[in-house]
């Protein structure tokens, strides 16, 4: 029996409804339990001495003074930890040629970026550990620094890791069709150079870990703010020589992650290594400067790209040359080549064209490592694609909506394989665009823009279509050799009181995973969502799974939950049929009661069934299966990824005197397949949009030529504040994936994927009559004034 999603009046119809989040009540009362809220007996704190140089030899370490600080217990160097912790190498077999040297939890004889941990000071309080760290003297001999991306491969540039030969981490060229001849004969060719700013996630909860190695039990317990507890279990076990079965990772409340907390960080592994040495709980909470210098960075790209169109605006070809610099090491275990690889996979995504060349060049440099951050590669690919499409439209005198309509894949033409060899099961570009145009009242907005312009006010409308990769299969990491599960599981059980417990391998990071799972299980079994308790984030308790990344929670974790819930329903009904001497097919479960499926008449509450099964099993027929617990796992298999699509629009005003951009309004129409909880999806979209707007307007990590990070505080690195953000209109088209019963695809990253491009196009729409154009993010007042020629030098 399948779920009749089409019928909103079906019994137990919780999938598709806004139901409250079970964890919200606790969080609004300050009753959350984040890692830093946990204190264990005999717990100590670690603070790190970090490299002040981007590249330096470590000649000596003098910790005499530090040892004298009251409360300081132990001081560790990289060599000390290397004795208990093996290094890691972040490569994946399917990213051919990717190379990166071994990385240790702390630098051994050389530091490679500002912020790399060099010495660990352990004390009875965080304050004492910090005081001690301040007194450690490290003797450095600065080495030549590789800071610039575009010259990293020049012969005159020093090689950062001589043992791997050069500064090239990875390169990939993808070519389809006859790109050069098309560009030679095309009616119009438009080219541009784009830059996206190196930025970072700025989770309000800094990275946090508390590791408790208990040698008497032979068990390591890590309380960790992480998106992927099982992956961390594997990593800690492997590198600290503990059997995997003896590492337990517990992930309670997490104060924002956005991709930042899915990676292996040297200082976190160091914390675990120290716990293993000291045999007591060790806590590490990053401070804000440490967050800026050591949380992964992302989006540091420079792209030269061009588009070829015919006289009707039909796209003939894209040619994209992407460069990215990833810092000193590829990040373990997902690697730092994925972002560039995604740019190659995703450029031109919404459009039906034949000739495609894209190349990414990924280089090392002496900066903080970069890796996957919300919407990995998408904001870059969408900015390049949509920027070029708008420029082509302007060159041809076409409306931006019209040129897209002429090129987007037809909604009824799926499945399709794109020139980048991405396979799309079913998308809705045209429907989404129609809905967007209607929601924003495009024509009225154009009139408003024209009126404003007549008054000397420069407003712009920017459109950005996009595709988004969600529900990844093992094609993302598993085939490359990483022990990162693409499969996820859910165990659902009924307790004697008729309540349901669901244990899931996906994790809650605030996006509403537990609410989403409770609705699915409630509908799948036939109980109220409030009667489902969801447990996530404990490797010793939940089925093995991948956790939360690449927008997989609802599509993968949700499907596992639905299947296990349906299986439990069958188990319950089998027992009920025996108890009621009825045909199982004639019974149903609704709102926690066994009912007659036909009439809906109540036959027995689930508590009664629970009482009999758990306490009076003697009254049931011998041999009747009575396991009121079921587990199902789910993995996608027909498509490597479930692509979603959508389109965003930005309306904004540029003050041409000051260069300041005022966001007036933002729209997003998005197709994430089956929507499980409309409110949660909308708020994921809004939150994602605002992170994208941050990247478009404010967020940029600055380094000087010596690799010094210049803006390592929240006062200097700007993120969106309430006052400058617009209201956002969110609309949906639903094209469920046919791969699963649930039909859900991911929704968490689409907002971030499209927002920067929409803003860029809107600014350029506003500036076009003035002959100015910006392509370097973030679009600061200075860059806009430079584009306008108001500042030179």
């Amino acid at each position: 029996m399948t779920v009749q999603f089409g019928n909103p009046d079906r019994p137990n119809s919780y999938i598709g409804k806004t139901v409250p989040r079970p964890n919200a009540g606790r969080l609004v009362e300050g009753r959350g339990k984040y890692v830093d809220d946990i204190n264990l007996p005999r717990m100590v704190h670690v603070a790190f001495v970090r490299s002040p140089f981007a590249h330096a030899k470590i000649l000596g370490i003098d910790a005499k003074e530090a040892r004298l600080v009251k409360g300081v217990l132990r001081i560790f160097t990289g060599a000390d930890l290397a004795e208990v912790c093996t290094p890691w190498v972040a490569v994946l077999a399917h990213l051919k040629g990717l190379k990166s040297p071994p990385e240790h939890p702390m630098a051994l004889d050389r530091s490679c970026w500002v912020g790399e941990p060099v010495v660990a000071v352990v004390a009875t309080s965080r304050a004492a550990a910090e005081d001690g760290a301040a007194l450690v003297e490290v003797d450095y001999d600065p080495l030549p620094v590789v800071a610039d991306m575009m010259t990293a491969l020049d012969a005159s540039t020093p090689v950062l890791h001589p043992e791997i030969g050069d500064n090239l981490a990875f390169q990939r060229l993808h070519e389809e069709g006859d790109v050069d001849s098309i560009f030679a004969i095309a009616h119009k060719v438009v080219s541009a150079r784009f830059k996206t700013g190196r930025h970072t996630g700025v989770t309000l909860e800094p990275r946090s870990i508390l590791v408790d190695w208990n040698p008497a039990e032979g068990q390591m317990t890590a309380y960790h703010a992480t998106q992927a507890p099982h992956m961390m279990q594997t990593v800690l076990a492997k590198h600290l020589d503990v059997p995997e079965s003896r590492v337990r990772v517990i992930c309670g409340d997490v104060g924002g992650s956005y991709g930042i907390k899915v990676h292996v960080y040297p200082d976190e592994v160091a914390t675990a290594a120290i716990s293993k040495i000291m045999a007591r709980p060790v806590k590490f909470i990053a401070d804000r400067l440490e967050s800026f210098t050591t949380d992964i960075h992302a989006r540091d790209h420079e792209i030269e790209a061009k588009i070829a169109v015919d006289a009707n605006g039909k796209i003939l070809a894209f040619d994209v040359d992407d460069w990215t610099a990833i810092g000193a090491y590829s990040v373990y275990p997902r690697t730092s080549a994925i972002e560039g690889n995604q740019v190659v996979n995703l450029c031109g995504g919404p459009y039906d064209f034949a000739n495609y060349r894209a190349k990414t060049t990924v280089v090392f440099q002496n900066k903080t490592p970069t890796c996957q951050y919300r919407a990995v590669g998408h904001p870059i690919a969408v900015a390049v694609t949509e920027g070029l499409v708008d420029m082509a439209a302007a060159a041809l005198g076409l409306d931006p909506v019209e040129i897209r309509r002429r090129n987007m894949y037809a909604d009824d033409g799926y499945p399709i394989t794109s020139p980048a060899k991405m396979r799309f099961e079913g998308l809705s570009h045209h429907q989404s665009m129609d809905k967007l145009v209607e929601l924003m009242d495009y024509d009225a907005l154009r009139r408003d823009q024209a009126e404003a312009r007549a008054r000397g006010v420069h407003r712009g409308i920017g459109i950005a279509s996009f595709i988004e990769l969600t529900n990844p299969s093992p094609f993302m990491y598993g085939i490359g050799g990483a022990r990162i599960s693409a499969q996820d599981g859910c165990t659902v059980r009924m307790d004697p009181d008729g309540s349901i417990v669901a244990l899931s391998g996906v994790t809650e990071q605030g996006q509403g995973t537990e609410a989403m799972l409770s609705q699915i299980v409630a509908e799948g079994v036939g109980v109220l969502p409030s009667n489902v308790r969801v447990i996530t984030g404990d490797t010793q308790v939940t089925p093995y799974g991948g956790g939360t990344w690449a927008s997989r929670g609802a599509g993968i974790g949700g499907e596992a939950a639905l299947r296990s819930a349906r299986a439990l329903r069958d188990s319950i009904l089998e027992v009920a049929a025996a108890m009621l001497q009825a045909d199982q097919a004639s019974l149903d479960i609704r709102d926690g009661h066994i009912v007659d499926a036909e009439s809906g008449a109540g036959r027995m509450p689930l508590e009664e069934l629970g009482r009999i099964v758990y306490f009076r099993g003697d009254t049931l027929p011998e041999g009747l299966p009575r396991e009121l617990v079921q587990t199902r796992h789910y993995i996608t298999s027909e498509y490597p990824f479930a692509f979603t699509n959508g389109v965003q629009a930005s309306y904004l005003e540029v003050d041409v005197e000051t260069g300041i951009v005022k966001l007036l309004k933002h729209w997003c129409v998005e197709d994430c397949g089956r929507i499980i909880n409309p409110q949660l999806v909308d708020e994921q979209i809004r939150g994602g949009i605002v992170q994208g707007l941050g990247g478009a307007l404010f967020e940029e990590i600055h380094y000087d030529d010596e690799g010094q990070l210049l803006n390592g505080s929240m006062a200097d690195y700007l993120v969106p504040m309430a006052g400058e953000m617009p209201d956002m209109v969110v609309g949906h088209v639903e094209t469920p994936t046919k791969e699963s019963m649930l039909g859900a695809k991911g929704a968490g990253e689409a907002g971030t994927a499209g927002a920067p491009a929409a803003v860029m196009n809107a600014i350029n729409d506003a500036l076009r009559p003035l002959g100015a154009q910006v392509t370097q993010m973030p679009f600061t007042p200075e860059r806009i004034l430079r584009a306008l020629g108001a500042i030179e030098d």
């Binding site: 919200a24 300050g30 959350g32 304050a127 505080s713 929240m714 504040m721 309430a722 400058e724």
Partner: protein, 166 residues
């Protein structure tokens, strides 16, 4: 360690309506005192720089950044944290509006956001959305994109002004 950090100061104050006596290091910030000494972990530390507002608590009726004020300055003060404001039901309507509107995701900013929002609401009237946004601009949220928070605060302002049913 410098002398000043070694020094300890006695303070006598009210926290969430209960008397507290403590001897605090001279350099300890209010947020660390509340979290580490009193176990009031509702307010959080994030930027420790006075920028993000996650550490916001109420001291003598005003929203204060717990990472900028020293615990030693609390002698004689009346402090309310999210725990006390919850227990006393003082902001129940606001908390319910946050839940109903999903004005929180990870919840890390939420305790500080609620204290800051209540400060605005306590001024009475129904502020414009722009005024709500302006007032909350010292409280960062990386998850929600702010709109749901503004909606929730606006709803409560209307409810309290009797414009809509609670």
């Amino acid at each position: 360690m410098t002398k000043v950090f070694a020094d300890r100061i006695d303070i006598d104050l009210m926290v969430n309506g209960e008397p507290v006596e403590a001897r605090v290091p001279a350099g300890q910030h209010v947020i660390d005192f509340l979290r580490q000494e009193l176990g009031l972990t509702g307010a959080h530390a994030s930027c420790e720089h006075g920028v993000c507002g996650t550490c916001t608590v109420r001291v003598d009726g005003a929203s204060v950044r717990g990472c900028l004020m020293l615990a030693a300055q609390l002698d004689g003060a009346d402090v309310w944290t999210i725990e006390g404001l919850s227990d006393s039901e003082a902001i129940r309507d606001l908390q319910e509006a946050f839940i109903a509107r999903n004005a929180l995701q990870c919840g890390f900013c939420t305790p500080g956001m609620l204290v800051a929002a209540e400060e605005l609401l306590a001024q009475g009237g129904v502020p414009e959305r722009a005024a709500i946004r302006e007032h909350l601009s010292g409280n960062y949220c990386r998850c929600t994109g702010y709109e749901a928070i503004v909606d929730a605060v606006e709803t409560v302002a209307r409810q309290r002004a009797g414009q809509v049913q609670a």
